[in-house]
Structures are given as structure tokens and as C-alpha cells.
């Protein structure tokens, strides 16, 4: 279903038909969960953050204008939810210190993956780069967003987004190499 349909649904939510928010939730819960999980590496926290995004969409539904893509607006909210979460919890401060961070305290058996060692190290390296670098990398790599959209979310140009992605990759490479070293 295209973005115009997202907009139509959101406009109905705005008009008071808030049951329709369930449709958008079903459509984007997985993508948002992945976004938060890759940023926090915590399953329950990510689930809570996804819920917070949709509650904020409901709360600020009157501010939705229907211009541009719905996902751009949604990820702007998601990003704010994530930044608020970082301010409140600073969840990475303790996580980054351990090599076993990718298996979080909330992780259960279902979050243990059969990844080979190098991929596991890459996951650790991703957790160790700074929040801003990780965020831009995740949005560009996994969330199926165009650089222009990411630029709108971050409030910068498309070119600046590309430069930030590059710098995030260089930071990731450094962390990864450091973890690879015996």
C-alpha cells in the first residue's frame, strides 16, 4: 500500500476515527521495532518505544498536515521518542562496555541468533559507535528511507546525510577492527 493511503488513514485518525490507527500500527510496527531494536538492542524497550510512537501520533494527530510522506512524519516522531528515551535512561552507557552487549539483559532465548562470529562482532561494533552515527546509519540502511526523507527528519540536506552515513561507516569500521584485533 502506498504512502497516499497512509496519509488517507492518518487524516481519518485526525478526524476522530482513531480506531484506524491500528492499520498504521500493523503496517509499521515491525519496521519501527527494528529501528528501535538496532538502536537499543533491547526487545522490551523497543516494544515500549514502538507503542510510544503510536501514542504520540494519536496525541499530536491534529498537527498532521497530510503533506509529504507519512513515514517521514512518523520517523520524526520515532526519533524524538528515541532521543527522549536516551535522555531518560542512557541505555548504552553500560551496554557498550561489554562484548556481550548484543545479548541484552532483556534478551531471552528467542533473541539469540545463529550468527557467525564476525557478524556478532559487527553487531557489537554497531552498538559501540555513537548514537547519532548509529541512528543515521540505521535509517539509511534498514528503514527503506530515501536520503531526502532522512534529511527532512534530521533537518539537513541530502548531501549532508550521505556525508554523515559515510562518517558513521568509518566509525563502525574502526570499532569493528578494534574488536577483531586479538
Amino acid at each position: 500500500m502506498g504512502s497516499s493511503s497512509d496519509i488517507e488513514i492518518m487524516l481519518r485518525v485526525k478526524a476522530g476515527d482513531i480506531e484506524k490507527l491500528g492499520l498504521l500500527f500493523e503496517r509499521y510496527k515491525q519496521a519501527l521495532f527494528a529501528y528501535f531494536y538496532r538502536n537499543t538492542n533491547r526487545k522490551h524497550t523497543s516494544e515500549d518505544l514502538v507503542q510510544n510512537v503510536f501514542l504520540r501520533i494519536l496525541k499530536y494527530r491534529q498537527r498532521f498536515q497530510g503533506y509529504g510522506k507519512f513515514t517521514t512524519w512518523m520517523y520524526q516522531i520515532a526519533r524524538n521518542v528515541y532521543l527522549d528515551h536516551c535522555k531518560k535512561d542512557n541505555p548504552h552507557s553500560s551496554k557498550k562496555d561489554s562484548l556481550n552487549d548484543n545479548i541484552s539483559d532483556e534478551s531471552t532465548a528467542e533473541t539469540h541468533y545463529l550468527q557467525d562470529e564476525s557478524i556478532e562482532l559487527l553487531g557489537c561494533a554497531l552498538n559501540r559507535i555513537n548514537d547519532a552515527d548509529r541512528e543515521v546509519l540505521i535509517l539509511s540502511k534498514y528503514q527503506n528511507l530515501a536520503y531526502k526523507e532522512i534529511g527532512e527528519i534530521f533537518g539537513c540536506s541530502e548531501g549532508t546525510v550521505k556525508v554523515r552515513v559515510y562518517r558513521a561507516l568509518i566509525a563502525l569500521k574502526k570499532k569493528y577492527k578494534a574488536l577483531e584485533a586479538p
Binding site: I18, Y37, F54, K162, V163, L169
Partner: protein
């Protein structure tokens, strides 16, 4: 491509899905002295990022979200119900006559309050007075202008306008007396007397009417003046009436009327 930074081209290369374009970008980067092994390393790293798995969200996500949504929906319904109840109550009572009467009373009270508030305002009264003065002056000017016209129609209109003035102006009295004594048209003169009688309380008007007795040749005007003098109880008119009686060519009816009027006045 020329204005793009090297970093931008590297990212475009890494994200490019078109093999031929990707090859082209690689060549370009190598031309720009970007290290091949570095590029290949980043390419592999970027590719390996896809291998990082993410678990599926647990059932609590759905459960928590839909519970929260239900709460929001019921809250919104309650808000709607409250508003709809209020509207419903209004719609029931709106049709009752006493409510309509109450609305009417409220409107009257509001109108009265606004009117009272405006009329009691000193600046409003001042403005109103200034405006009334301006209108009066305009009316006087128009009346004088019409009385100065030679056409009987326009003069009659001027006389009519003078009669409509609420507060008589000396200039208008003099203009009316001038018309009474000099206008050749008896009809105009009769109409002038009618208007002057209205302002009979003014001494200038009374004096003017008394003086006019001796100057009138028309029997109709003389008869009318006799009536007016009696109505105004103007005793100063006796002497001019007596002088009029001395005229040999005086109409018999007029003579009779004047004699009776003298008897009433003395």
C-alpha cells in the same frame, strides 16, 4: 558529480544496486585516489550489516498497544457523549416556548445594556452633539438657499424646510419675514405666515408679523394675519389693524374680520 564530496560518492557506490553504475562509481573513486582495499572493506561491511538479525516483536507489543488504543477510544467517546448530551439537552428545551421567551428577554437585556453603555459614554454624547450641530447647520444653509431662490416652488420648499427646523435660527426668521413682505406670490406669503405662527413664541417673529399687517395688499393674507394675531393674542397688532381699517379700498370681509379681531384683542 563534480560538486559532490568524495564521501557522498562513496555512499552512493555502497548503496548502488545497478552493477554497471556501481562499476562506474568505483572507477571514478579510484581516479580520485580513493584506496581500493578501503572501498572493498567498506562494501563488505555495508553488505554484512544486512546479516544482523532483528527478532520479531513479542505479543506484548500488540496487547499493550491495543489496550492503550481502547482506552483512548473510550475516552474520546466519553468526550463526544458529553458534548452530544449537551447538544441534545439544548435541542429538547429549545422548542419550549418559555425558553424562546427567555432567549428574547436575554436579547432585549443585551440590547438595552449595549445601548445604555453607549449612551452613557461622555465621548459618545459629545460626538452625537457635534454631529447634530453639523446636521442642523446644513439644514439652515439649505433653507436659506431655497428661500433666496426666485422660483415659487423652491421658495415653498424652503418654507417647508424652515417649518421642519426644531430650533429656529434668527437668519431663517429674517429670511421668512423678507419673503412675507416682498414676495409677489400670495400663496408663498400665506405659507410663510403658517410657518412663522409655529415660531410665534419668538419676539422677532411677533414683531415681524405685526409690521407685515400694513404691508399686505392681498385680502386673503390680511384675513389670515387677523386670525394669526388673534391666535397669538398679539395686542400690538391692534394699532396696525386700525390703520388698515382706514383704507378706503379695504375688502368688506376683511374689514369685518379685522373689526372682530380688534374686539378680541383689546
Amino acid at each position: 558529480m563534480k560538486n559532490k564530496k568524495l564521501e557522498e560518492i562513496v555512499v552512493e557506490y555502497l548503496t548502488c544496486k545497478d552493477e554497471s553504475l556501481k562499476k562506474e562509481l568505483k572507477e571514478k573513486l579510484l581516479e580520485l585516489d580513493y584506496k581500493q582495499h578501503e572501498l572493498e572493506y567498506l562494501d563488505k561491511l555495508y553488505f554484512d550489516l544486512d546479516k544482523l538479525e532483528v527478532p520479531d516483536p513479542g505479543p506484548r507489543l500488540n496487547k499493550n498497544f491495543y489496550s492503550a488504543l481502547d482506552v483512548q477510544i473510550s475516552q474520546l467517546k466519553q468526550e463526544k457523549n458529553w458534548y452530544q448530551n449537551l447538544l441534545h439537552t439544548f435541542s429538547i428545551y429549545n422548542n419550549r416556548p418559555f425558553i424562546k421567551f427567555a432567549y428574547a428577554l436575554i436579547l432585549i437585556f443585551l440590547g438595552w445594556s449595549i445601548g445604555f453603555w453607549q449612551s452613557s459614554s461622555p465621548s459618545y454624547n459629545k460626538e452625537l452633539k457635534a454631529m447634530a450641530n453639523e446636521i442642523y447647520n446644513m439644514k439652515v444653509m439649505m433653507t436659506l438657499s431655497l428661500l433666496n431662490q426666485s422660483s415659487p416652488d423652491e421658495k415653498l420648499l424652503g418654507i417647508q424646510k424652515a417649518g421642519m427646523l426644531t430650533d429656529i435660527d434668527t437668519q431663517v426668521i429674517l429670511a421668512l419675514l423678507e419673503t412675507l413682505n416682498n414676495d409677489p406670490n400670495a400663496g408663498v406669503r400665506l405659507e410663510t405666515i403658517t410657518v412663522l405662527e409655529k415660531f410665534g413664541f419668538h419676539p422677532l417673529v411677533r414683531q415681524g408679523l405685526v409690521r407685515a399687517i400694513s404691508q399686505q395688499e392681498s385680502s386673503m393674507v390680511q384675513l389670515y394675519l387677523a386670525d394669526i394675531m388673534v391666535r397669538l393674542q398679539e395686542k400690538n397688532a391692534v394699532e396696525p389693524f386700525r390703520k388698515l381699517l382706514n383704507r378706503k379700498n379695504l375688502n368688506e370681509n376683511v374689514r369685518d374680520k379685522i373689526e372682530k379681531s380688534i374686539l378680541v384683542l383689546i
